[in-house]
């Protein structure tokens, strides 16, 4: 069996994780995992590259939710016309990550599983009340992204046994009085870890912020 696997379907990917029983690891953009492999911080026997799975590469918008496949790179979020129109805070956060060439590989799901404290993707996910769908061969569950952080570099998702398939967040937008904002300060304007990053989502109705409609 090859050590680098290209599942064409989600089922195939889950099957690999199941049968390889902790020996395999999910690979999406690889912008964090590949340096970890070089540094010996990770040494999976098999890599399961999920970027060729059509079910994981789409962006779906309906009245209730925005749903993004786990293999969608940040660059696609950044360039998506509807997201630019209705969810500019997410678009700005996506555009803050590394630089263009990084955004073309790195994914939101990967950013969340990596669980770095400064991660721009994680902070915006919290404000947008995002949830992740986590699957293995036999189970599937929705978990609020906030619950996935167990500490710096520690995630509740074990990428050797399960994967985030999609991330969704409520389609709250300005048509209903909702707004979200993304702010970030760094020592330079690009390719920099933030000194501080912050995201907020809130709703204004009749000139007030109704109870329960604000997330920082």
């Amino acid at each position: 069996m090859d050590t680098y696997l290209y599942p064409a379907t989600l089922q195939e990917a889950l099957h690999y994780l199941h049968t390889l029983d902790g020996e395999a690891q999910i690979l999406a953009g690889g912008t964090d995992l590949i340096p970890d492999l070089r540094a010996g911080k990770a040494a999976p026997g098999y890599l399961v590259d999920i970027t060729g799975i059509p079910e994981l590469t789409g962006i779906e918008i309906n009245e209730k939710h925005i749903t993004l496949g786990a293999a969608v790179p940040f660059s696609e979020i950044k360039e998506h016309p509807a997201l630019r129109e209705y969810h500019p805070a997410l678009v700005q956060a996506a555009g803050s990550i590394g630089a263009g060439a990084i955004q073309r590989a790195a994914t939101w799901a990967g950013n969340i599983v990596q669980a770095m404290p400064a991660a721009d993707g994680a902070i915006i996910a919290l404000a947008l009340e995002a949830e992740a769908r986590i699957m293995d061969q036999h189970h599937a569950r929705w978990v609020p992204v906030g619950e996935l952080f167990l500490g710096p570099g520690k995630s509740a998702v074990d990428p050797t046994r399960e994967l985030i398939t999609v991330i969704r967040f409520p389609n709250h937008n300005y048509r209903e009085g909702w707004g979200a904002s993304w702010q970030r300060v760094g020592r330079r304007q690009a390719l920099v870890l933030p000194i501080i990053n912050a995201a907020v989502k809130l709703k204004i109705a009749a000139g007030e912020i109704p109870p329960g409609s604000r997330r920082l």
Partner: protein, 919 residues
């Protein structure tokens, strides 16, 4: 595992480990070396950018498994010298190529942008290029090249096949002689040279800031499969030192001695491959006694401080004293007293320190690597190996930037030692982290100025105290104090001077040469202090300097007159209206903002002088040869690490001979062929080596014309050189150069001539100071935009006026200014090396394209007395005024003084809130 993909439109099938990075595979398995590695495979620099399905990706973060079934384009697939892509052509024509190390990645990123966007806006280009670091150009020319290409592709502009280039001074510029190679990825930097059987050299370095080496057992390492040899101090046959480069520094620390900074080298591991070298390094058994360390000069001077050397922690001290200081201050209406602090900086050339060594078939030990002084390195290596210098050859290859960082001979000596002991080719390539740990840094300074002036705005007295942090070892730190003092007073007149500079040992990183060696830090403090004084007097900062500028013939604050034309009045008069116009625009901007706006604009100004030329020989030689086939070859030693000296030297020779530069081939900085010109630092090359080249070309011209005159039977005055012939201006008689070459052979006259620039008659021994008083001047004004809520600062525009005497190649002179400005912007706003913390580009922030201001460069030409065609040194000078101009701008904008570099958002906020910038 078998992986198939398309590479530059050709199908490729490889059997490789799919988790290997594409960068490694394309360089090592496929032999395409145009794709570069600059940041230890961390995705931080962009030099490894390739296109996958036409999208730029970091090949260092891309496992080769990911490109299966895809189309990959590397720089080798973009265009060839015979068939350049319009982007490559534009990069050459606009001067977007300097060292060339970032160029392949830049070009591919730009190509993908132009495939997507037909006519991208400047902001879009800046944003797209933000992931590709460049340390040489300042990004402005790169943006211009992309804009120009977009227009060409749209048919709005026609691409010329050859210059005349427009540009600075309206004078024609010469294309870089190496630009075509660089834009096509064909340039062979050291790491790209393949030598069969090359061994890898790895260095065991002390992990402690200060520690005694107690025990060193290399036995376990030598048992590791693939490890060939492990060398320690006892394997050095000659001197265990770096000669006069660094008086106290061993090549390898002997057992029993102390390692005085983190990264101090202890042992050399030579192995067949990188993996074995790593394993061998880890296998060495080493024990240290960790000693208490200190990083700051105040700690070094404390009474109970550990003494790093028998003579104490003060390496050197230098003073200037004249006039009655008390009287001068008594006569002052305003006195400012202020202390400025600068930071450690790392050169961060995109090419890491890399040296290849081997024995050639003359059994001569050859070392190939970027350097500033091939002949001095030759001497240091010979002394360490106890060889005759003639048994050592140092070759300067194309070099991916230096900025002073590659002046350290250590990598050469270490590599030479490994070749000497193994007899095999050896490559030493620093990792980026190692380059941060072990290469010399810019010295941090603590500078206190007390400056007085009269109400009318005349400077009275200057008292200055400078403490420079030279780190654990000398690395020329002993000479630093003289340079520190030269910057501390500047091109101004004072009634009395009391100046002291000290160079002080700490356990910080060894500090050494860095663009402007020792003077930018003290100039920064001076120009900020002058700004404080001008503000206190409520005077225009440009006019204040004009009123106090040093007259050409007067004694400088150093106690003696300058030896070159100063041009400072011309500089200040030129920049005055630019400064005023920016001030008006800023006021207009601030008026147009709502009262609660968090954005505020301001303008800062700085002047400067910079002493170029260093202490090298006053006699510098070059040689030129006409080959029997008529080709002209120029031999000189002015290493080109990206700044374009090879082009400049060729152009000087061509200009003197009256032929196109393309007619001349240059061999530069190779101890086997080129004369010793000493060290090329302190912006010395154009003036000194260029002067020698001009003299040499003049002699060559004379030789060619007198020989032709005999053959044509006419007086030499009636003859001229044109292209590859000598022609009579009277009639249509002419001779090809090859005939002259053959005639010289027939006459048994040497086809090689030598010329010398000799400045000793102008600066007689006994009367001249240790360093020739050759000064160049300039001034810059910076527009700054401060966010009062976050403390972030942007610099939208910098206007720079520099007196270059004569711009040999205007486009490259402008390139030096713009690159220096961006480096100075890094100094002002973001660059700070912290020992024990900073590890690489992930936490040492270089300015990206998003930080790049619009730069307006105005070159003025007040001819020098002794330089070729009136040229002066420039490359370092332009960095001097940038940081003070920006800091003065911030301070004036926020109404509080920033006195600590860099002005990070935290420091700016702290200054805003508390008046103190120590955030």
């Amino acid at each position: 595992m078998k992986i198939q993909f398309s590479l530059n439109t050709q199908p490729v099938t490889l059997d490789v480990d799919p988790t290997r990075t594409f960068l490694d595979v394309v360089r090592k398995e496929l032999g395409l070396t145009g794709t570069k590695q600059g940041c230890d495979y961390e995705g931080e620099c962009g030099a490894c950018t390739v296109l996958v399905n036409n999208q730029p990706v970091r090949s260092c973060l891309t496992p080769v498994g990911k490109v299966a079934g895809k189309q990959v384009t590397t720089i080798e697939g973009l265009g060839s010298p015979d068939n350049l892509h319009p982007l490559q052509q534009s990069f050459i024509e606009t001067g977007a190529v300097q060292c060339g190390y970032c160029t392949p990645g830049m070009l591919l990123t730009a190509k993908a942008l132009l495939d997507r966007e037909v006519l991208p806006e400047r902001e879009q280009i800046l944003s797209e290029m933000a992931g590709n670091l460049c340390r040489c150009t300042g990004y402005n020319r790169i943006v211009e090249a992309v804009e120009k290409t977009a227009q060409i592709l749209q048919g709005e502009t026609e691409q010329r096949d050859s210059p005349p280039l427009p540009g600075p001074l309206g004078r024609e510029s010469t294309r870089r002689i190496d630009a075509e190679e660089k834009v096509t990825g064909r340039t062979k930097f050291v790491e790209d040279i393949k030598h069969p059987g090359t061994l890898y050299l790895q260095v065991l370095r002390s992990p402690h800031h200060y520690a005694r080496l107690l025990e060193l057992d290399t036995g376990p390492a030598e048992k590791v499969l693939g490890v060939i040899r492990v060398l320690t101090a006892s394997d050095i046959p000659g001197e265990n030192g770096l000669g006069d480069y660094s008086s106290h520094e061993p090549v390898l620390t002997p057992v029993g001695e102390t390692c005085k900074h983190q990264g101090a080298p202890v042992a050399l591991i030579i192995a067949a491959d990188q993996k074995a070298a790593n394993q061998g390094t880890e296998a060495i058994s080493v024990h240290y006694q960790v000693l208490p360390h200190f990083f700051q000069v105040d700690e070094a001077l404390a009474e109970d401080a550990p003494q790093l050397y028998p003579n104490g922690n003060i390496l050197s001290r230098n003073t200037i004293n004249h006039g009655d200081l008390d009287l001068a201050f008594d006569r002052s209406d305003v006195i400012v007293n202020c202390t400025y602090q600068t930071a450690w900086q790392e050169h961060s050339a995109l090419e890491r320190e890399t040296v290849l060594g081997y024995y050639d078939n003359h059994t001569r030990l050859c070392l190939v690597g970027g350097n500033h002084e091939p002949h001095w390195h030759q001497g240091y290596i010979a002394a360490s190996l106890d060889l005759d210098p003639a048994e050592v050859r140092v070759i300067t290859p194309p070099t991916g930037g230096s900025f002073g960082g590659k002046q350290d001979p250590w990598p050469f000596i270490a590599t030479a030692l490994a070749v000497y002991h193994t007899g095999q080719p050896v490559l030493l390539a620093y990792s980026r982290k190692e380059s941060f740990d072990a290469s010399p840094k810019r010295h941090p300074y603590q500078v206190t100025h007390k400056l007085g002036a009269t109400r009318e705005g005349k400077l009275t007295g200057i008292q200055v105290r400078i403490d420079a942090n030279t780190g654990g070892y000398d690395a020329h730190g002993q000479y630093l104090t003289d340079f520190a003092l030269s910057g501390a007073g500047g091109p101004y007149e004072y009634q009395a001077v009391d100046a002291v500079a000290r160079s002080i040992f700490t356990n910080g990183p060894k500090a050494g040469q860095y663009r402007g060696f020792g003077s930018p830090q003290s100039s920064f403090a001076l120009e900020c202090a002058l700004d404080e004084l001008a503000q206190a007097l409520d005077q225009d900062p440009v006019k204040f300097r004009l009123a106090n500028q040093l007259p050409q013939e007067a004694n400088s604050f150093l106690g003696y007159p300058v030896g070159e034309s100063l041009g400072y009045r011309e500089v200040l008069e030129e920049i005055q209206p630019h400064y005023q116009s920016l001030v008006n625009q800023a006021a207009e901007f601030n008026r147009s903002q709502p009262a609660d706006s968090q954005l505020r604009k301001g303008v800062g100004f700085s002047g400067m002088w910079y002493r170029f030329g260093k202490s090298g020989s006053l006699q510098v030689k070059a040689e030129m040869e006409i080959q029997s086939d008529g080709k002209l070859i120029l031999y000189c030693s002015g290493p080109d690490y990206g700044q374009g000296t090879s082009t400049a030297m060729t152009r000087i020779a061509a200009q003197e001979l009256g032929i196109p530069p393309g007619q001349i081939q240059i061999i530069n900085a190779d101890t086997a062929y080129t004369p010793d010109s000493g060290i090329q630092g302190a912006s010395r090359t154009t003036y000194f080596v260029g002067g020698a080249v001009q003299k040499t070309a003049r002699i060559m011209k004379h030789t060619l014309l007198t020989t032709a005159a005999e053959l044509l039977d006419c007086p030499p005055e009636e003859l001229n050189l044109s292209e590859n012939r000598v022609a009579s201006c009277r009639n249509d008689q002419s001779l090809p150069l090859e005939e002259i070459g053959r005639e010289l052979d027939r006459l048994n006259i040497s086809r090689r001539v030598s010329g010398e620039l000799d400045l000793s008659p102008y600066f007689p021994a006994g009367q001249r100071p240790q360093y020739l008083p050759l000064y160049v001047t300039g001034a810059q004004t910076a527009e700054v935009l401060v966010d009062l809520k976050t403390g972030t600062v942007r610099v939208p525009k910098i206007t720079a006026v520099h007196d270059v005497g004569h711009a040999i190649n205007p486009i490259d002179a402008r390139g030096q200014v713009e690159g220096a400005i961006l480096m100075g912007l890094g100094t002002a706003l973001m660059e700070e090396y912290l020992p024990g913390h900073t590890a690489g580009f992930g936490d040492y922030y270089l300015p990206t394209s998003m930080s790049a201001p619009v730069i307006e460069t105005i070159l003025i030409e007040v001819p020098s007395f002794h330089g070729p065609f009136g040229a002066k040194g420039l490359g370092e000078a332009a960095i001097v005024p940038t940081a003070p101009a920006i800091i003065n701008g911030i301070s004036r904008t926020i109404g509080r003084r920033i006195r600590t570099l860099p002005a990070t958002p935290e420091r700016v906020l702290s200054a805003l809130k508390t008046g103190q910038d120590r955030g």
